[in-house]
Symmetry: C2
Subunit: 125 residues, 2 copies
Amino acid sequence: MQDETARRELGSEFLPRFDAAGLITAVAIDAVSGRLLMLAHMDAEALATTRETGLAHFHSRSRGRLWMKGESSGHVLRVIEIRVDCDQDAIELRVDAAGPACHTLATSCFYRRLTAAGTLERVDD
Amino acid sequence: MQDETARRELGSEFLPRFDAAGLITAVAIDAVSGRLLMLAHMDAEALATTRETGLAHFHSRSRGRLWMKGESSGHVLRVIEIRVDCDQDAIELRVDAAGPACHTLATSCFYRRLTAAGTLERVDD
């Protein structure tokens, strides 16, 4: 078990850990600005298709199907680099965004901050 | 339904969406460098405790309990700002890290990139 953990955390083998639903969390980061853009989920098919095409694909839990980010809007995410975290249950996509990452047309989906009063306030960065 | 979506996505009410297991995904970003540090999960208790203390708390799925990042290492994450994504099922913590964010002592948990050959390679940034 210790060996297995070390292998996963420190080795050079890509051993993505999908959860019970067959999904792994993926975070898209703008490769130039470093800004967190969006968070979504990938199944093995979405991960493989992303690697093959160089365009971010996810698994839509609500629609139950493979989904290319930007398939309807044209706001695709070109994947510059894929990183994995220590225990290989999360993926970082470093991307070149062809447009706003959020379906609301915000640059990032994380466009509101929580104030001390407990309400949300728009941020623009 | 449309009104509910608009309220959640464009409104000023904080309405975090916990999943069936009572969890919401949280991403920690270094407030200075902008670097993605780690990804973990929060339940309502972890989110409330993070807001109260200003230190990042998560819910450990493996240990089944509230966990303060840095409780044993001292590498706490001071929360500068909390942001939420469009549909409020993911949280961004903009943090000041007191030390390496990863338990492996890497600055970020995302310290390996996937090469074209399909193996992992250490990155240092």
